[in-house]
């Protein structure tokens, strides 16, 4: 069954087309990496899919129904630098934000919600930091707080925007562990990813993107040097070439 069906997405920014002809479908319970050079429109694509930015045209179906009807099934981990980490709040509070749709906006969080938030923090090894002001956390710890918020959302389809960028080894492990767990639970995960070395290890499907989709499918068949050359337009570095080929 397809968790996600994306048809013909086109996005303009100040009258310039930054993304077009993007159509693909994502099977339930798969881990998909969205890969491409800087400025290829990877983040733009997931933001357009999630209706966070306006799209020129295109349609998104979630479990065969319109995105708007199924919005509650979606979890999202934004790029870490997109939010203000000097914001006056602590880690537990951020995780509780993941519960708000269930709690309701005009009600207070109950003891049960706080317990769930703490369980989620515990799962990513951040329970000791629950009351820590978020600006005092390291980049990796901040990313784990975001993961805990995603956990608290208890979504069916997760979108993550460059979760591995600038994090320590422990956080990277925590992210991979969580992705695998989600997959085992039949959840679907899409990740904007830029590290070519780890693509084959982490994802079972890949979308190669550079303003238009270059290739999409199972990692084994799609993630070839030829296709990467087409995606990166010859800008692929010697080092990356070496690591992909080995």
């Amino acid at each position: 069954m397809n968790a996600l069906e994306i048809t013909n997405i086109k996005v303009n920014y100040h009258k310039q087309t930054v993304l077009e002809n993007v159509s693909f479908h994502v099977p339930e319970g798969s881990l998909t990496g969205i890969v491409g050079p800087n400025g290829a429109g990877k983040s733009t694509l997931i933001k357009a899919v999630l209706e966070l930015i306006p799209k020129h045209s295109g349609a998104v179906k979630v479990y065969e129904q319109s995105f708007r009807q199924q919005k509650h099934l979606i979890g999202y981990v934004p790029q870490r630098n997109e939010v203000d980490w000097d914001f006056p709040t602590n880690a537990r509070d951020i995780v509780l934000m993941g519960r708000y749709r269930k709690i309701g906006f005009f009600k207070r969080a109950k003891k049960r919600d706080i317990e769930i938030a703490d369980q989620c923090l515990d799962k990513v090894g951040m329970l000791d930091f629950a009351t820590r002001q978020i600006s005092q956390l390291s980049g990796g710890q901040q990313q784990r707080v975001f993961l805990a918020r995603a956990l608290a959302q208890d979504a069916s389809i997760y979108f993550m925007d460059e979760p591995f960028s600038g994090v320590d080894a422990a956080t990277e492990k925590a992210i991979i562990h969580l992705m695998k767990e989600w997959k085992n639970e039949g959840k679907t995960v899409l990740v904007v990813h830029h590290d070519l070395q780890t693509v084959e290890e982490y994802f079972d499907r890949v979308l190669l993107l550079n303003k238009v989709p270059i290739e999409y499918g199972e990692t084994q068949t799609v993630f070839t040097m030829d296709n990467l050359e087409r995606t990166y337009g010859g800008k692929i570095s010697f080092l990356e070439r070496a690591t992909v080929l080995t």
Binding site: P78, V83, D84, P88
Partner: protein, 290 residues
């Protein structure tokens, strides 16, 4: 109540109302938009006068709210059309304010509304402008207007606390979980417009910016909880009004000026002495090197 008492109450209301609403702007990094709105609401006041030919509170509040929203909307629109954010604020702010100044000179000496008064305000005159209903004197109009705006602000913040908080911290996530971020943004801009126009008579368009932004910026340095920043900001605003009034009387200077200066002093103290402040860092460094 005595003349002095009314002035102090007015000052406290200005400080608390502007402090609370301003803290939200500081957290949302839209302080410059507040600066713009605090000036363009003059157009709302002049417009309200042209339509109603009076300077009553309610038409003034409505006029200010309309022009405040218009300002926020035009800035947003220019920005979306590719003009840089600070440039669009600069363009909208100056042109609407200039239009208000031109219209003001048409009114001329018809009423007590002139450029200097609009820019500087005069809190010392506030107690004479009374609110009289059916022959009963209910106190200065400014106090009524400010109390109304404070009550509206507190209600809005109480009702929409979570939505304001999430959309301030993480705009995109807020959209995803169904928070009407546009509505929240314009709601807060309305509160700023209302606070400004209610404070106009007392402190004027220029110093109201100090009352809006400085207490919020100070509280932001001192607190690490969203709710505490809001409350502390109101407290600093109110305290600045009291201390400002006291020092103005001692030194025989402008009351509004002294209030705004006091907010600045609070900020200086917080900047130097907060947890990560220069003074604390200096002493920590010395302790360590000994």
């Amino acid at each position: 109540m005595s003349y002095t008492g009314w002035i102090i109450i007015t000052g406290i209301l200005v400080g608390v109302t502007c402090g609370i609403n301003g803290s939200l702007l500081v957290l949302r990094k839209t302080a410059m938009l507040a600066d713009a709105i605090s000036h363009t609401v003059l157009l709302g006041i002049v417009g309200a006068f042209f339509i109603t030919q009076t300077l009553h509170g309610i038409p003034m509040l409505i006029g200010a709210a309309v022009v405040g929203l218009l300002t926020a909307y035009l800035v947003e629109t220019l920005n979306q059309k590719g003009v840089q954010k600070d440039a669009s604020i600069g363009v909208i702010f100056t042109s609407l304010f200039a239009l208000a100044v031109v219209l003001l000179s048409f009114i001329g000496s018809q009423v007590h509304l002139d450029t200097e008064h609009a820019l500087m305000g005069e809190i010392a005159f506030v107690p004479w402008n009374r609110f009289v209903l059916h022959g009963i004197d209910l106190g200065p109009k400014a106090v009524w207007m400010l109390s109304t705006v404070l009550l509206i602000s507190l209600t809005v913040i109480f009702l929409f606390y979570k939505q304001i908080k999430i959309s301030t911290f993480d705009h995109h996530y807020a959209i995803l979980i169904g928070i009407p971020v546009g509505f929240i943004h314009y709601l807060l801009m309305t509160l700023v417009s209302l606070s400004t126009v209610a404070s106009f008579n007392s402190v004027g368009a220029i110093l109201v910016v100090a009352m809006l932004i400085v207490p919020g910026a100070t509280a932001y340095l001192l607190s690490d909880r969203f709710i505490n920043v809001i409350l502390l900001s109101g407290l600093i605003g109110g305290l600045s009004a009291i201390l400002g009034y006291w020092s103005a009387i001692q030194l025989n200077v402008s009351i509004a000026g002294a209030m705004a200066t006091t907010t600045g002093l609070f900020f200086m103290l917080a900047f130097l002495f907060h947890r990560e402040g220069l003074v604390i860092k200096y002493f920590r460094h010395r302790l360590r090197s000994q």
